[in-house]
Amino acid sequence: MLLALHGVSKRFGALQALRDVTCELDGRAVGLLGPNGAGKTTLMRACLGLLTPDAGEVRVLGIDARRDPGAVRMRLGYAAEGPHRIPGLSGLESVAYAGELCGLSRRTALLRAHEILDLVGLDEARQRPVEEYSTGMHQRVKLGMALVHDPELLMLDEPTSGLDPGNRDELLQLLVRLREGDGPAVLLSTHLLHDVERVCDTCIIMDRGQVRYAGSLEQLRARMGDDEHVLRGEGDLAGLASALAQAGHAVAPGERPDALRVRLIPGHGPEAIWRAAQAVGASLWQVQRRGQRLEDAFMAAIDGGGAEHRGEERARS
């Protein structure tokens, strides 16, 4: 089991950063998804034992992070968000230093640093001071520092933020290679769904300090039910919407005034739409089936949570 969280809560003054977080996750690559301020970084810091939760239990790789943070960190590699660095050190020295802090001998750390920098694709620039690095080079060095001591779990906080498409693609490619090869399991915290879709097989969706979903990406997509149809046309679209809704289909307004989004009851095909349109006298010029994207599933999870949250707020007031 990579992560097991039971009733984890953390408050910073008036802000409830984590709210009774409970989930258990396993797999080779886990995505930690959520909008900014969802509590992703707080959760990662709690996993590292860098902050103590007000309540609950955090177990990482079977170890209680509160009781033995040293053992957890020995088996974890963490790359924080932001320009964390030691000015004056070169990329090579930074990675070797990180290795030494994790218990490698000086010689082993230096050899390993060369090996890891080859892996992350930092070539001659490794000898230059880190202050001179571009964002892409920084991310590579941070990844190298997280990997140098051969961790069992790699925790990356927004590793692709600020990267150009080329660098981002290379970094994600590397994470996929780590997942598929002998590398450590990956916990990837991001608000970019594409990154999770490309690298991860499992995900946690967080919003306002709460877990909205924890499980595989496939299950998340399946939870959304049947595919959605996007309709465009003219005439009595409002009548068409109510006729479809009366028949039990889920109808939502489209992105344009002349569009509707319809999720049909399982077992029904697009002919149900055509029949309803004929009955109310609406003429449709487009009925397009759209497969469920992770983005939709994510938004549904967040929206569901938002509605819950608004309900709680109303109840409190």
Binding site: L50, I86, P87, G88, L89, C102, G121, L178
Partner: protein
């Protein structure tokens, strides 16, 4: 090309690794980074010049002692011997002065080497980088103390021992016997000075967020305290002497080494700090200052990291 780079692959490290003492890489890296700065090298030169100057003075005093010994053998106690002693001074006073003067040079060097040890870690986010490794707060604090403490150790405590060794080695047999007893009290004074310097710079660094600013505040603060400690007692405020760490260290060193006159030559070359009336109070003030620095350092690390 990219495929070649990525084709290296990930290699697992073999077996369990023994837990190594983490403070040493922290201290070594901090000192290596400091050594890359030109200002640090200038500070080292300043310290070396101070050691060299005091070494010359001690050599002159020991030679004078030999000459006085011969004069004493031939002519008995006389005016010439007293004149010579008042001009060149004695080794006790020079060793005591060395501790005080070297403390100033060392404070300058520490401002360049150690002012950013904690402050820069906070500014650059390196603190999180450290504590996401299997480091305890204790390892971090000891590493930083070691990095800062090695500076006064190498520029103050070790040179004091070398000067003492030179004095004992060159002195005539009778004087040599007397000088032997100076080592432990002298080392006590030097170590207290080193501890005060180390903890105060780290305490200040724990408060600041920029190494350069902390360094300037440290040096200016030391100068202000030193001049307040020197001037206010002349205007009847004797208590103010205890504000000056330099004056307190000089008080302790003089008492420990039983220093007499530094001699006219030394007085011409160096403006030696005055001393405070109470050695006990001076030591208490120094220990209080060191305790404050240490408390600030521990408080900062505790507030930055929970586990």
């Amino acid at each position: 090309m990219k495929d070649q780079v990525f084709s290296v692959g990930y290699r697992r490290l073999p077996g369990d690794r023994p837990r190594r003492w983490a403070p040493w890489p922290i201290a070594r890296t901090a000192l290596a980074l400091a050594w890359r700065k030109r200002s640090t090298k200038l500070g080292v030169v300043l310290c070396a010049m101070s050691v060299f100057g005091h070494g010359i003075a001690i050599a002159a005093q020991v030679l004078a002692e030999r000459v006085m010994g011969r004069m004493g053998d031939r002519d008995g106690p006389g005016v010439m011997r007293d004149v010579l002693r008042s001009v060149v001074g004695n080794v006790h006073a020079t060793l005591a002065t060395f501790i005080g003067m070297q403390m100033i040079a060392c404070a300058f060097l520490l401002a360049m080497v150690a002012a950013g040890l904690v402050a820069e870690d906070r500014r650059t986010g390196a603190m999180e980088l450290y504590f996401s490794r299997p480091l305890r707060r204790r390892d971090y604090v000891v590493g930083k103390l070691l990095a800062a403490g090695l500076v006064p150790l190498v520029t103050l405590v070790v040179p004091f021992s070398l000067l003492w060794l030179a004095a004992v080695g060159m002195a005539p047999a009778r004087a040599s016997q007397e000088l032997m007893g100076l080592l432990l009290p002298g080392l006590l004074g030097a170590v207290v000075a080193a501890v005060v310097l180390t903890t105060t710079i780290l305490g200040l660094s724990a408060l600041g967020e920029r190494g350069r600013t902390v360094g300037v505040i440290y040096v200016v603060g030391m100068l202000v305290l030193t001049s307040a400690g020197a001037d206010l007692p002349r205007h009847g405020q004797a208590w103010a002497g205890y504000l000056s760490p330099l004056r307190n260290v000089q008080t302790l060193a003089d008492a420990a080494l039983d220093a007499g006159s530094t001699g006219m030559l030394m007085q011409l070359l160096i403006s030696r700090p005055d001393t405070n009336p109470s050695v006990t109070l001076a030591v208490l003030c120094l220990l209080g200052l060191a305790g404050l620095g240490m408390a600030l350092l521990l408080w900062r690390v505790r507030t930055e990291v929970a586990g």
